[in-house]
Homo-oligomer: 372 residues x 3
Amino acid sequence: MTIATVEVKRDVSEKSKFPLNQWYVAALSSELKDQPIGRTLLEKPIVLFRMGDGTVAALEDRCCHRALPLSSGMVESSGLRCGYHGLLFNQDGKCIEIPGQEKIPSKAKVAAYHVQERDGLIWIWFGQDQHVAPACDAPSYFVHSDPQYVYGGGVYYYNAPYQLIHDNLLDLSHLAYVHPHTIGGNAKIHMNAEMKVESEGDNVRVIRYMPNSEPPSTYTAAYTFHGNVDRWQEIDFRVTHQLIWTGAVDHNTADLNDPERGGFHMRGFHGITPETETTCHYFWTMATNPTNNVEEIKNKVVEQTQLTFDEDKEIIEKQYQNMLRFGPKPVIDIHVDVGANRARRIIDRLCEKKEMIQSESNQDKVLETETV
Amino acid sequence: MTIATVEVKRDVSEKSKFPLNQWYVAALSSELKDQPIGRTLLEKPIVLFRMGDGTVAALEDRCCHRALPLSSGMVESSGLRCGYHGLLFNQDGKCIEIPGQEKIPSKAKVAAYHVQERDGLIWIWFGQDQHVAPACDAPSYFVHSDPQYVYGGGVYYYNAPYQLIHDNLLDLSHLAYVHPHTIGGNAKIHMNAEMKVESEGDNVRVIRYMPNSEPPSTYTAAYTFHGNVDRWQEIDFRVTHQLIWTGAVDHNTADLNDPERGGFHMRGFHGITPETETTCHYFWTMATNPTNNVEEIKNKVVEQTQLTFDEDKEIIEKQYQNMLRFGPKPVIDIHVDVGANRARRIIDRLCEKKEMIQSESNQDKVLETETV
Amino acid sequence: MTIATVEVKRDVSEKSKFPLNQWYVAALSSELKDQPIGRTLLEKPIVLFRMGDGTVAALEDRCCHRALPLSSGMVESSGLRCGYHGLLFNQDGKCIEIPGQEKIPSKAKVAAYHVQERDGLIWIWFGQDQHVAPACDAPSYFVHSDPQYVYGGGVYYYNAPYQLIHDNLLDLSHLAYVHPHTIGGNAKIHMNAEMKVESEGDNVRVIRYMPNSEPPSTYTAAYTFHGNVDRWQEIDFRVTHQLIWTGAVDHNTADLNDPERGGFHMRGFHGITPETETTCHYFWTMATNPTNNVEEIKNKVVEQTQLTFDEDKEIIEKQYQNMLRFGPKPVIDIHVDVGANRARRIIDRLCEKKEMIQSESNQDKVLETETV
């Protein structure tokens, strides 16, 4: 990964609505087949499609002739054809055919975006200057490619600002109240669990251990425990996405600080991409590590995860509607808000800072550790 | 009932959107069971719930932590628990538990409203100054507690300003055109009926008698008449609600001026509570006095009433949409508008007057009587 | 037809949103039976109804008493009765009865519009000055009255500005991409077809011939061809409507320039009436000339036409939503846009010109001819 300095052209005093110079998730690989997908990302209406060789392309979702969304068009091996009058565009956004007309004017083109497909995820780059190439590759996500894990996932459209989802994921104390029927478990143990919050660069890590607690129903449905369990929740915030590793082992059978610990694992990927300042896309996968009945257990875990995320969506959208209804009004903070508040300060800083630089996710230096 | 002087703090020249220092209906008692109800009243989002002992509480519908509506939470015997992170609020709006945290900050509270439950109705007080206690009790409504009567009811949400419903109820001449299949009857008799309009303080009374008229279908479905009937309509406007007593006796068998007259009675309660300036809640009950087949006749009368009110809702919402479509434009008045216009002047005066005082519903002095 | 000079009273520098001093389609005759129709035309909410003798009347769709739409009322032989309090209005908009009240105030009236019913179409006049009578009769349309033809039709409501439909109809090169399953046919032949564009006054004519082409599925479903066909498309733009004559004969069996040519004919009428600047009504009929199985073939042709127009609606509404999403942004023109662009210039000129005069549809002088 190369870290480059990005040339800043626009007024440095201007505050961005979203962190730029970042890779955001544009789609799950499994979503994009032979039909184009139209999706607005960071306020840009974009069409995603695959060229004949399978590579992903991303163009402005508007034909330069009469403004029909190109996502209403037809995918061909050499590009995407508009569904109104048949203009054909290649992966660079250049019009390469106007039916019935020999000369193609040089203005016949649409904007193209940088995209990369890695480990089952399609990422799109939003830079301060879209003419400058991304200075690093899109993030890898080894879990999707590790044979120990099987996974499934989905996409939610949220009528709520993206930071409310970050808040929700960085604070798993809500499990007892929002998800009592799936991954919740005992409220008091959740709330009283020791929580450690660490930061490194633009990353935040929240760790909570719940030793000797009752396994929640999603866990027992997928794995055989022999009584109480030691649970862990490790949440890694990464500006445009989060990696959440939760799981449990039989009580007192493993060191929770050992990353090679056994037991039941759920590894969640959460890509959170703003559509606008008040709406967003939420791309998720959930991986687990069954040793037998692999397909059945995977389906059970993914299904329970989806039920759980349905509950989050309902809560978060209600929360946002209520914020709109009441208008600006102070809130109080409680003990579980440390991680989420720290992530909010990072996003604030990234939207404000004079020269946005690449997010450097591989730094090891721990800057701040807080135990709550 | 004590009449108190309410201390006025805000700018007395300001015009209120709604009459204040009034009890408004917040809910029918039958609506509020073990789940909270979220409802916006006079532009205030409010949650209603019952404490463990059954008393009704009303709080601002927003958790002070992360703004989720408290109406998405769980009712407990000592209060209402937020459905996101479990904060518990008592009937005064004070947070009495933050899960996993010992100290409860003094700012952890939400606004509470004055409520009273009487005769099957839950009333809420909106004063000019919400910190001042209501100076009178909520209205009683003896019909709901009188063993001679049985009743049922419901709640409508209206996409129309509340005064259009007052207009509609104060002018029952529309029955012939809007409700020909239920309580309508002959158009000419309706329109030509003598109408008397009286005022006392903030109250208006409209009385119409339709002697020797054909009983409408709702009447004959519920009661046995022997030919034509003498019908009465007595409408009492009360700023936040109306009491409408209609009914009929066989022609020439009773004095219509005698309140103890027999025959078939329909006593309607109509609570009309603004949600916003352009939307409202309409709480209604209809009581009747069957002497046999009590349940069957009650159901028939309530069902027919609901059909009738469905028709009103359709008309009034269309009327309002059309008012919006055309924008401000003069209207002409006709003879039936006397009562409604007088009620509008009362509401106007109450919204404007420098020092709002308690509505005094028990005054007996008749100020104006008009025969139309 | 008389051409009159219309007196212009308002500020001549003001630009109109729509061409005025025009007959617009208000309804198909077949739509208007014993119920009134409420419809907003050129931003005027209007109610259409038939008097007892069948003549069509058009009034402002608002009762002057309490603003209910008159289209919610009841048609009577002498006029339209309001559905709220029963005021009755005649075809001139004069209130002729107020139930229960003897005196009718002179202000009790609503605006009336000039309407004419001709050949199965109901036309309404929008003049610069609505007090001046239309200076010509509404257009005739002989196809609806010609016994050789049978026809059916319908009405679409479009969430898109009316000119996008004019664009669509004046450029039939989209058939290959939007309508491949009905009237499309081979894309290359469509796009390479010679196109001739003529103008005369406020009219535009686009003519395209596609000799020796494969008949599309709608054609073969309705008519027996013996191999390839010679197809024609003749499009006549008329400011408020278009007449489109398409069809085909067996290859080399007729002179396409001969209006009396045989074969399979589809004659489309397209009335396009703005509702607002961003929405419109689209009234269409499709006539054909079967010699046997008349009803069956008519139904097939009308049904296929409707499928085709459903596809257009989907495309045009998507196009407009995308125009809104992207905001003002340049477009490029291609060869097929000549006719549509010329029509746009005519509409622009009619909205701008200082003294709007009657559209003169019978002029014969060809002003511009262009072969593309």
